[in-house]
C-alpha cells in the first residue's frame, strides 16, 4: 500500500473514532517484516528517432533487482513510444547523446537511447 493512502486511511479512521492501536501496530509489523523503502526501477528504451513520440525499437526493464527483457513479441511491449512510458509515470533521466548523430557518414549504436526511472 502507498504511504499516503495508508495515512489517509488512518485520518479517516481517526475522524470516525475507529482508529485503534492495532492499526498502527499492523503497519509497524509490515515495516519490520520487509523494507518498504521505494527502489529505483529503470526502463531502457531505444527509439528510432530522438523525439519522445518516435517508435521504440528496443527495450528492457530493471525492477525488483532483476533485468527483464519484456515480451518477445514487440507488439506486446508495454510502450510503443517514450511518450507512452512518460504518460505511465516514467521519468526520463537520460536523453539520447546527440553528439553521436553528428558524424554524417556513420550510424552509432541502436537508435536513440532513452533511460527512464520510477521509484516504487
Amino acid at each position: 500500500m502507498d504511504h499516503r493512502q495508508q495515512v489517509r486511511e488512518w485520518l479517516d479512521k481517526l475522524r470516525d473514532g475507529t482508529l485503534v492501536e492495532g492499526d498502527l501496530e499492523q503497519a509497524l509489523d509490515r515495516l519490520n517484516g520487509h523494507s518498504d523503502e521505494p527502489r529505483q526501477k529503470l526502463l531502457y528504451l531505444q527509439a528510432h528517432k530522438s523525439g519522445v513520440d518516435a517508435d521504440v525499437i528496443g527495450m528492457s526493464i530493471v525492477e525488483s533487482g532483476e533485468i527483464n527483457e519484456g515480451p518477445e513479441d514487440p507488439d506486446q511491449w508495454p510502450y510503443k513510444t517514450v511518450l507512452e512510458a512518460m504518460n505511465d509515470g516514467w521519468r526520463i533521466i537520460k536523453f539520447p547523446d546527440m553528439t553521436l548523430m553528428l558524424q554524417d557518414e556513420e550510424t552509432y549504436g541502436l537508435g536513440c537511447d532513452f533511460v527512464l526511472e520510477k521509484w516504487e
Binding site: G58, G109, L110
Partner: protein
C-alpha cells in the same frame, strides 16, 4: 601448447563454382548474413555431434583433419559456393575452429560484435556458423541483427541493449550453415530446453582481388533500388555502406554523390541509370 596438426588442406586455397547471383550478393551486403538451411546431410550432422561429444573442447581443431568433415561441411557445395561468390576464387579454407558448446538451459547472452571487428567496405573474410543439430527456439539459437555490421559500437557499450525489434533468430534444422560479415551484432538466445547445444564457428579468407565473378545477370538493373525503412538508421544510411561493400566486391570505384544518387531508393524505377552508379553496373549506357 599443442603442436600444429599436419594436414595439407588446413588453411589452404580452395575453389569451386559460385552459387550466389547479383541480388543475393547485394542482399548479403545489406543484411550482413545469409542462411543456408539444412544444406549438410544428416549422416554428417550426426557424425559431427558425436565428434563434438568425443572432443568437447571450445576449440576442436581435430575437425580440420577429418576428411569427412572437410568435404561434408567446409567444402559443402552450397556453402562453399556462397563463400566463393563472396570471397572470390581460391579462398582459404578455415585454419581454426570454435565450438560454442552450451549446456542448456542458459539465459540470453549480451549483444556483441566479435573482438577484432572493423568497419570497412572490404570483404576479406567471412565468419561462418554451422548447426550440426536442430536449432529450435527452445534451444536459444543465435540471434542476429540484420544490417548491424554497419552499426558502430563497442560490445561493452551495448550491454544495456536487450530486446530488439529487428532481431532475427537463426532457428533452423540440423545441417544449417549461416554466413556472416564478421562485425554483425549477435548473441545466443535464451534457452529453456535441457541438453547440450553445439555451434561450430570458423572463418574463410580471401586471396583474390575482388571482381564481379559470381552468377552475373547482365540485364540486372541496379539503379533506383527499393529501400524499405531500416529502424534506427537515417533514410538510406544502411543502403550506402552496403553499396560501398557491393561496389568493392565488384571491383568498381564508387563514391556516394548524395541527393538522389545511387543507392537512394525510389518506389518506381525510372528507365535510366541512376546518377552515381558505378560504371560497370550501368544498364542503359
Amino acid at each position: 601448447m599443442e603442436t600444429s596438426l599436419q594436414q595439407p588442406e588446413i588453411g589452404l586455397p580452395y575453389d569451386c563454382e559460385p552459387t550466389l547471383n547479383d541480388e543475393q550478393v547485394i542482399e548479403f551486403c545489406r543484411r550482413g548474413f545469409l542462411m543456408l538451411e539444412g544444406v549438410v546431410g544428416d549422416e554428417i550432422n550426426k557424425r559431427t555431434v558425436a565428434f563434438c561429444d568425443e572432443n568437447p573442447s571450445g576449440q576442436p581443431l581435430e575437425f580440420l583433419t577429418e576428411d569427412w568433415f572437410v568435404d561434408g561441411v567446409l567444402k559443402n557445395p552450397e556453402s562453399a559456393g556462397a563463400v566463393r561468390s563472396l570471397l572470390g576464387r581460391d579462398f582459404k579454407l578455415p585454419g581454426n575452429m570454435s565450438n560454442h558448446r552450451a549446456e542448456c538451459p542458459t539465459p540470453a547472452q549480451g549483444w556483441h560484435r566479435d573482438g577484432g571487428s572493423i568497419y570497412t567496405p572490404r570483404l576479406d573474410y567471412l565468419q561462418v556458423f554451422y548447426y550440426p543439430q536442430d536449432a529450435t527456439p527452445e534451444m536459444g539459437p543465435t540471434e542476429v541483427l540484420p544490417g548491424s555490421h554497419f552499426r558502430r559500437c563497442k560490445s561493452n557499450f551495448i550491454n544495456h541493449v536487450r530486446n530488439v525489434k529487428m532481431t532475427e533468430k537463426t532457428t533452423a534444422p540440423a545441417g544449417t550453415i549461416f554466413i556472416t560479415v564478421y562485425s554483425i551484432w549477435h548473441r545466443k538466445g535464451k534457452s529453456t530446453w535441457t541438453g547440450i547445444r553445439n555451434l561450430l564457428k570458423y572463418c574463410y579468407w580471401r586471396t583474390a582481388e575482388p571482381c564481379r565473378d559470381w552468377i552475373v545477370d547482365p540485364d540486372h538493373v541496379f539503379s533506383w533500388p527499393e529501400t524499405p525503412p531500416e529502424p534506427g538508421f537515417e533514410q538510406f544510411r544502411s543502403e550506402i555502406p552496403a553499396a560501398r561493400m557491393f561496389s568493392w566486391l565488384c571491383g568498381e570505384e564508387f563514391e556516394h554523390v548524395g541527393g538522389q544518387g545511387w543507392p537512394c531508393g525510389s518506389p518506381r524505377t525510372p528507365a535510366c541509370d541512376q546518377p552515381g552508379l558505378p560504371e560497370g553496373l550501368k544498364r542503359y549506357t
